[in-house]
């Protein structure tokens, strides 16, 4: 009896090894080791090329005293809040739309997802053209109030332009997650609700939402993470302008290190950023898990 269970344990480990060892190895050496090395570097006077002495918490003090760091944090938090709400609203709305039992509605799923595949330079070129040339020209023709000026050159409108492009890019992805959640609801529960005379809205709020809470956990987590780490969209759209006022935290850290040459301080800002995101994400997951219904 004892022999059989140890052999199964060894077999379990073997199976685990075959599938998980290579990814685990890569994970350790590409993520874990550089991360700890980075944390170590924040306690030194690293200048990008070499370290010569340990300086304790000096870099962290410098990071906390930097006004631009807090300004960037502020705008990043506003951006995270705005995109969290809007991306998930739009994503969920689209998910409801594409699960209507109509013919040909599945094609819409591809269309809504495509923006997620466009990134980097192309994204920047497309939206710079839209905000800089297309919209102002249309606004002049039809006398619309909002788009007369290039949204990217004033701070407030540039912020909303960032949010707009993020919603455009991310909702397709969240839509897919919500669709999976919606599809996983058992048909008999919905039928029972229909028989009991529940309206569409009641079904949505009291039955569908609780049963797909897990999809919400995942989507909210991904939105928070993507928003905090946003970099591509920031650089592609307007480089953190105008006058560095819409510089999100990732771009700020990158500039501090590779633009100004403050490598050690930049890295400590990155560590601070990591702590903030980790706390935010963990809190969100713990709270969301409470809402999940056990089947």
């Amino acid at each position: 009896m004892a022999n059989r269970s140890t052999r199964t344990r060894v077999q379990e480990l073997k199976r685990f090894g075959i599938f998980a060892l290579v990814p685990l190895f890569i994970f350790t050496f590409v993520l874990v080791v550089p991360f700890f090395r980075g944390v170590f570097l924040t306690f030194t006077d690293w200048d990008g090329f070499e370290t010569t002495s340990i300086v304790g918490f000096d870099n962290y003090f410098l990071a906390f005293q930097d006004e631009a760091f807090w300004a960037s944090m502020g705008i990043t938090l506003a951006y995270v809040f705005a995109s969290l709400i809007l991306v998930n609203l739009v994503g969920f709305g689209l998910a409801l739309l594409v699960t209507i039992p109509l013919k040909g509605v599945n094609v819409l799923r591809t269309f809504f997802f495509v923006p997620n595949l466009i990134g980097g330079v192309i994204l920047g070129l497309i939206w710079q053209f839209i905000f800089g040339q297309a919209l102002p020209t249309m606004a002049e023709q039809f006398d619309l109030p909002f788009f007369q000026e290039n949204w990217l050159v004033t701070t407030d409108t540039a912020f909303w332009a960032l949010v707009l492009v993020t919603v455009w890019q991310m909702s397709g992805y969240m839509m897919i997650i919500y669709v999976t959640g919606l599809m996983s609801i058992e048909k008999d529960v919905l039928e029972a609700a229909l028989v009991d005379g529940a309206t569409g809205l009641r079904t949505l709020v009291s039955i569908k939402l609780p049963l797909m809470a897990q999809a919400f956990t995942i989507s909210l987590f991904l939105t928070i993470r993507n928003a905090f780490m946003a970099y591509d969209v920031n650089i592609a759209l307007n480089n953190g302008g105008p006058y560095r006022s819409t510089e999100l935290i990732s771009l700020h850290v990158f500039r501090d290190a590779f633009g100004f040459g403050n490598f050690a301080t930049g890295q400590s800002k990155a560590v601070i950023m990591f702590l903030i995101i980790a706390i935010a994400a963990l809190t969100q997951v713990i709270v969301s898990k409470r809402f999940e219904v056990q089947r």
């Binding site: 990217l152 006058y243 560095r244 590779f258």
Partner: protein, 446 residues
């Protein structure tokens, strides 16, 4: 049934491995790949490989790569030069620090603002024949603590570019503009022909590096005093608002802004708008540098575009009123930390080919149409020189001793970005003179 299953699983296997392999192949196309630039060097068993980061400037990268290929296939120094592509959207430090970390530091690197950062790890050019050939003054910025860190590529100039045809039509002669009031009159004359007088770009680098230089380079009439002002700014003890040169500069800023075309903005694509506006004759002037000349000539091949000073003072004899900012845009440095003596010799041989042989000089200073890079030569012994209208104008100013220092070459890394941000705020009218001066001073103390 079993046969079908076997063949379909084989098919799945083939498709899966094809996808994996294509993924691997696509993955090797990173932004810092090495590209071999030519055949083996002539008559040599194992040539020394000399790596270079980047291609000097993006505008002439094809011409540079062709020149490297020509060198590789014809040189008798037993050297093969390999270009390490640098990601254009990354800063110099972002490109080079990973290479040093990996032990693959490029033998030759080219930059300007990061010279102080590279100082401890590059070769000293003092006593080298190439450094002796360089024109007077061109090595100043690259000399830190008595060590010559690099040799110059060329000189570039910036100021008020003008479209000669537009100015002829408006009856304006650039040589007669000696004061700020003369400039205003010239703007009025151009405006009277139904055009906007000037395209004043709000690009952060144009304002932050070049336009702020107009102040710094006229703030004192000798180099030591100008650099002393920078030291005082670093110490936080300099009051810009009480400097009459600064006030004059602000007045000029306001003047240019007043007459600027409504097309000009702080958006990143403003450079192209400027090219089109000046080349198409929609404006008479554009504050920019001679690097725009290939773009302008590309738009209007038969056009003549010149450059003239930015007179900030109303006293015609004031220092700098009649000079254009001329400076070296970058220096070639040779790594000493991770390279061998052969690699360093090979690097010097490569640069010598460019600067002292007829073929190399043709590539260096020859016209863009015949594969040259159109660099204004700054080494003695050059038999080739650019023949465009603007190059001639620049040579006249340089020969007459009317070239102003690029004080912006001495800006520490990151300063021009902050200068540019502050200037853009003033440009957009979101800041007043006092706040603008305060932000410029604050940029030094960060």
């Amino acid at each position: 049934m079993a046969v079908l299953r076997r063949s379909s699983s084989a098919l799945v296997g083939i498709v899966a491995s094809a996808l994996v392999l294509s993924g691997c192949a696509a993955g090797s196309e990173s932004t810092t790949t090495e590209t071999s630039s030519g055949a083996q060097a002539v008559g040599c068993e194992t040539p020394t490989t000399v790596t270079m980061l980047g291609t000097i400037k993006v505008e002439i990268q094809d011409q540079f790569k062709d020149a490297v290929a020509e060198y590789n296939s014809s040189n008798s120094d037993c050297v093969e030069v390999k270009i390490i592509e640098s990601a254009a959207d990354q800063t110099f430090l972002a490109n080079i620090t990973p290479l040093y970390e990996a032990g693959e530091a490029p033998v030759i690197s080219y930059t300007l603002q990061e010279l102080p950062d590279m100082a401890p790890r590059v070769m000293d050019w003092t006593g080298n024949p190439l450094a002796e050939l360089a024109a007077a003054g061109t090595l100043d910025t690259a000399t830190i603590d008595g060590k010559i860190l690099g040799i110059p590529s060329t000189v570039e100039a910036f100021g008020l570019l003008y479209n000669k045809d537009v100015l002829d039509e408006a009856g304006v002669d650039p040589a007669s503009i000696k004061t700020r009031d003369d400039l205003k009159a010239a703007f009025d004359a151009v405006a009277a022909t139904g055009r906007d007088a000037i395209h004043f770009s709000g690009l952060w680098w144009s304002l932050g590096a070049h336009f702020t230089n107009i102040y710094h380079t006229t703030a004192a009439d000798n180099r030591d005093d100008r650099m002393a002002i920078l030291d005082e700014l670093k110490a936080g003890t300099y009051d810009l608002s009480s400097d009459p040169a600064f006030v004059n500069w602000l007045d000029t800023f306001d003047l240019l802004k007043e007459y600027s075309s409504s097309d000009a903005s702080i958006a990143d694509d403003d450079y192209d708008k400027g090219v089109f506006n000046l080349a198409d004759g929609e404006v008479g002037f554009w504050f920019m540098g001679n690097w725009a000349e290939p773009n302008l000539l590309g738009e209007l091949p038969e056009g003549s575009f010149g450059v003239m000073p930015v007179p900030t003072s109303n006293d015609p004899a004031a220092y700098g009123n009649d000079g254009i900012s001329v400076g070296v845009p970058g220096y070639f440095m040779i790594d000493e930390e991770q390279s061998t003596a052969e690699e360093r010799e090979g690097a010097v041989a490569f640069l010598s080919w460019f600067l002292t042989t007829p073929e190399g000089q043709a590539r260096w200073a020859g016209p863009v149409e015949s594969g040259g890079m159109n660099f204004i030569p700054v080494y003695s012994g050059f038999t080739v020189a650019p023949e465009t209208f603007m190059a001639g104008v620049i040579s006249e100013y340089v020969n007459a001793g009317k070239s102003l220092q690029w004080v912006n070459s001495a800006y520490p890394a990151g300063l021009q970005e902050n200068y540019g941000a502050a200037a853009q705020k003033y440009y957009d009218g979101n800041s007043n003179r006092a706040a603008f001066a305060a932000e410029l001073e604050a940029a030094w103390v960060k």
